[in-house]
């Protein structure tokens, strides 16, 4: 059932259960948010998404307020913008730094972007800061730089709601608020599975991808190139973006719109990509020599030897002496041509793939 409401003087339709923020975003209204992740339950913590609602005494948070028929909402008045700027100044004033490497995580530039949009540097407010970075956590994947934490709890919520692991939670209150594991220990000793979802939803880079930061050696201030592909591990088929800098893979971002994963990944998909550019990779063809060892060869030498071997075995033992095993890891073009090689080439069905083991 659809209803009608008014946003910034325009009548819009919506369905039961939609929030003001969702409807406004659908109509290209730019409402700032920091604690909002569309995959998570509305939280209303950062208050940046406040809007004026006719008849309400105070502004309301649009992420938590469900629309009702006949509502009249203004998203960008001078008063609202002034509130937002003050809120942002308070947030910015608390953090050691706001400009972080885009390699820290998918959303790590959100706070800096809003600071720029609202032209605030946080210097009008001085005082206490919050968050203590967890420098003793020597895990190789997740940087826990809580001095940049703004207590939006996106990490805690993504861990609980999306990943279902409940590995991290909130300790203390106010300026002493701290994201922590049970008994304030290392992630390794908690329920954390190192899926990296917390890194990717963090809007300030308080949680960062240590591996990407290492891979880049130094600060990469420009956004790396992204190539959309599918994770190379299990059969779920999660969509990822490979981050590259000068032909080097520097990290992985989950694709928030990936049809199979909607932004989720596991430790392998998130962090186990660097086998690709490992020094152990085969770089040239190899041929077994008369000394019994494998030696480097040109493509022509190796392909001729490969073909000659099949020709010889075919001549000596017949076409049923040749067998093909296709990969469950290479793309379908490889599997298709493997079976075509056997069927169109030798006229047999002596072909299989690795699914029986």
């Amino acid at each position: 059932m659809t209803h009608i409401m008014e946003i910034d003087g325009i009548e819009v339709t919506f369905s039961e259960g939609e929030t003001i923020l969702e409807i406004a975003q659908r109509h290209q209204k730019e409402i700032p948010t920091l604690c909002y992740d569309p995959r998570l339950e509305p939280f209303g913590g950062c208050r940046l998404c406040i809007v004026e609602l006719e008849g309400a005494r105070n502004p309301v948070t649009s992420c938590t307020t469900k629309a009702t028929a006949g509502m009249v909402v203004r998203t960008t008045t001078d008063t609202i913008e002034a509130y937002r700027k003050t809120l942002l100044e308070m947030v910015v004033s608390e953090n050691r730094e706001v400009d972080v490497s885009p390699l820290r995580g998918y959303a790590s530039g959100e706070l800096a972007d809003l600071r720029d949009k609202y032209s605030t540097n946080g210097t009008s407010i001085t005082g206490a800061t919050s968050g203590t970075s967890k420098t003793d956590d020597d895990n190789p994947f997740i940087l826990r730089d809580y001095e940049l934490c703004i207590s939006c709890y996106r990490c805690v919520r993504v861990c609980a709601e999306q990943e279902g692991d409940h590995a991290i939670n909130i300790m203390n209150r106010g300026f002493h608020t701290q994201i922590t594991t049970e008994f304030n220990g290392l992630l390794k000793d908690s329920a954390c599975t190192f899926c990296g979802q917390c890194i990717q939803t963090c809007p300030t880079g308080a949680l960062g991808d240590k591996k990407a930061l290492r891979a880049a050696d130094e600060v990469v201030d420009t956004i790396p190139d992204k190539t959309r592909t599918i994770c190379p591990y299990c059969g779920v088929g999660c969509s990822v973006d490979i981050l590259t800098k000068d032909d080097k893979i520097v990290g992985i971002h989950p694709a928030m719109d990936g049809p199979a994963n909607q932004g989720a990944l596991c430790v392998k998909g998130q962090f186990a990509y660097d086998f690709v550019q490992h020094p152990d990779r085969l770089k040239t063809p190899l041929i077994r020599g008369t000394d019994g060892e494998l030696h480097e060869a040109t493509w022509d030498e190796a392909l001729n030897k490969a073909a000659d071997g099949f020709r010889k075995v075919n001549a000596e033992h017949g076409r049923h002496s040749i067998y093909g095993i296709a990969s469950g890891r290479a793309p379908s073009e490889a599997a298709y041509l493997m079976q075509k090689f056997i069927r169109a080439g030798f006229g047999t069905n002596y072909i299989d793939n690795c699914s029986r083991a």
């Binding site: 709601e161 999306q162 279902g164 599975t193 591996k211 599918i230 190379p232 591990y233 299990c234 059969g235 779920v236 088929g237 490979i242 049809p259 199979a260 989720a264 430790v267 392998k268 186990a272 660097d274 690709v276 152990d280 990779r281 085969l282 063809p285 190899l286 493509w299 392909l303 490969a306 071997g309 099949f310 075995v313 000596e316 049923h320 067998y323 093909g324 095993i325 296709a326 990969s327 890891r329 290479a330 793309p331 379908s332 073009e333 490889a334 599997a335 298709y336 041509l337 493997m338 079976q339 090689f341 069927r343 047999t348 069905n349 072909i351 299989d352 690795c354 699914s355 029986r356 083991a357």
Partner: protein, 525 residues
């Protein structure tokens, strides 16, 4: 999977059997966690107290290899309690009367004697699954890697058919595929019994089609499976082309496998690393890896998705398709004149009815799940909605069989194998990823703490584990994840080659190895 991945949030009763999903398909498992948070009930049947078991509302710790008995017992209870879906059985299935007769003898009390699961828990599981309109089954290799893998799957189909838990949202029989393109490899026809698109090689219609397509006579009978081919190496099989598989570590009975590959006159291996298998080859051809290759993969929910190159390959490595074409052209085979992957995929679509509505450009965003029978068809997220591929769902009057080898005085412990969250297969990839060692530095044998004394073992010390095929040394780790009398190890680490021990038997139909059951003996070192 019969149902799409998004469906995993929707069942009211979830039955997971033989799947360690939180470790092997972690992102899929997040869907189940959401369903549970919503109030769904989770039943987990697994010999080991895995992560899913910890989350479950009912845990059925069955003895390894006893799945068919458990499922027969559940079918008995579903029938006895009148929880069958009569309309569904009447309209969509065949053979129920005989099946009804068949299961009357397989009581939960009988199943308890085989599985070790209390009869009352089998009853509860059956009643939960039988009473819901949204019951979904998820399974993995814990069901199929047995000599009775086919009976196990048929048993799952039986309980789904009798309760009508098929073809609707939040239901279905859902196998989780283990490799990024293992579904695509089968779709593409890399099977001894099927042409591309699962068109049987013994069907005259398909024979005629591919004879015309490939311009030559092709055998009218099925080929042999990889398992049979490895057995025949040196006898009637003399040359192999292996693309991207570390056969030596991933397959059972490593010694037999190594012996087989060494007996070949000619072995060509295409891979990205010099794997244990590649080291045996006469010719090793360097392939481009993930991130360097453009192509198409199909996931476990039959979703056809593009993979894309982001970086150039090392040295002179080339895509697999290019390598195969080059060998084929040198053998003067017709039809290998491709210069890019796009026309290869489009040819696969043209010859495969399940891909007929697809082409390279159409799958840009990955929104199609096969079958896509014609252009303009939206794809098929859910199978079996109106009817089954073969018409009616068939009840199978299965019988329980013991594993190929059972425990004895000589080999008194059950070994079962699998994967772990942080490592993948034979670690050619994860073993070369920085940081993974921090979480999983080495393999260890998971054994129940109460069993340590019995076998004179010490937690953290090494032991010798032997089967009828060989022995390996492995470090002992005491954990309640393993039940008494059953131990677990992954096959991922080359220095602890667990597949030296496995290989007791194969499913006679699928030739899938019984990697999940292997009687062993444990001794201190």
């Amino acid at each position: 999977m019969s149902n799409p991945l998004v469906d995993m949030q929707k069942p009211d009763v979830i039955f997971c059997i033989g799947t360690n999903m939180t470790e092997c398909h972690p992102v899929a498992a997040t869907g189940l966690k959401k369903a549970i948070a919503r109030g769904a009930k989770l039943i987990v049947a697994d010999p080991r107290r895995i992560g899913l078991a910890e989350m479950s509302h009912l845990y059925l710790p069955l003895r390894v290899g006893s799945d068919t008995a458990l499922l027969l017992g559940m079918a008995h209870v579903i029938a006895r309690e009148g929880l069958i879906d009569e309309d569904f059985i009447e309209n969509r299935t065949t053979g129920f009367d005989e099946f009804f007769e068949h299961i009357s003898q397989w009581t939960p009390e009988w199943a308890e004697t085989i599985t070790g699961v209390p009869a009352k828990d089998i009853e509860t599981a059956a009643i939960w699954y039988g009473s819901t309109n949204k019951g979904a089954i998820y399974y993995t290799l814990g069901i199929t890697e047995h000599i009775c893998g086919v009976e196990n799957v048929q048993s799952l189909c039986n309980i789904a058919l009798m309760t009508g838990n098929v073809g609707r949202e939040g239901t279905g029989i859902n196998p989780m595929r283990g490799q990024n393109n293992i579904q695509g490899a089968g779709d593409s026809g890399a099977l001894p019994n099927n042409y591309p698109g699962f068109q049987s090689v013994t069907d005259p219609k398909h024979q005629t089609k591919f004879k015309a397509e490939y311009g030559r006579e092709i055998d009218l009978e099925k080929g042999i499976t990889k398992v049979t081919a490895l057995e025949l190496c040196g006898e009637s099989i003399h040359a192999m082309l292996i693309d991207g598989e570390n056969t030596l570590l991933s397959d059972p009975d490593r010694e037999h496998c190594e012996h087989a590959l060494r007996a070949l006159d000619h072995l060509v291996v295409v891979d990205i690393f010099l794997t244990e298998t590649a080291k045996l080859a006469d010719v090793v051809l360097p392939a481009t890896a993930w991130g360097e290759t453009d192509g198409v993969c199909t996931n476990t929910e039959r979703r056809v998705q593009r993979v894309r190159a982001a970086v150039p390959p090392p040295g002179v490595a080339k895509p697999d398709w290019w390598i195969i074409c080059q060998i084929a052209q040198r053998l003067r085979f017709e039809g290998f004149d491709y210069h890019e992957p796009k026309p290869i995929f489009n040819e696969l679509c043209r010859v495969s009815p399940i891909y007929a509505g697809l082409d390279w450009d159409r799958i840009e965003k990955g929104e199609y799940q096969w079958p896509v029978p014609h252009k303009g068809h939206p794809g098929t997220p859910m199978l079996h909605e109106e009817e089954f591929v073969n018409g009616r769902g068939i009840f199978s009057n299965v019988h329980y069989r013991d594993p190929a080898e059972t425990i004895s005085d000589e080999f008194p412990v059950w070994l079962t194998t699998g994967r772990r969250l942080e490592s993948y297969h034979t670690r050619t990839q994860t073993g070369r990823a920085q940081g993974i060692d921090y979480l999983l530095p080495e393999e260890s044998l998971e054994i129940n703490p109460a069993d340590l004394e019995r076998w004179e073992l010490t937690d953290g010390e090494w032991c010798k584990m032997s089967s009828a095929r060989g022995s390996i040394n492995i470090k002992v780790k005491a954990t309640n994840r393993s039940p008494r009398g059953t131990v677990f190890a992954s096959f991922s680490f080359a220095d602890v080659p667990v597949n030296l021990l496995t290989g007791s038997g194969y499913d006679p139909v699928t030739h899938t190895a019984e990697l999940k059951v292997c009687p062993v003996r444990l001794e201190p070192l």
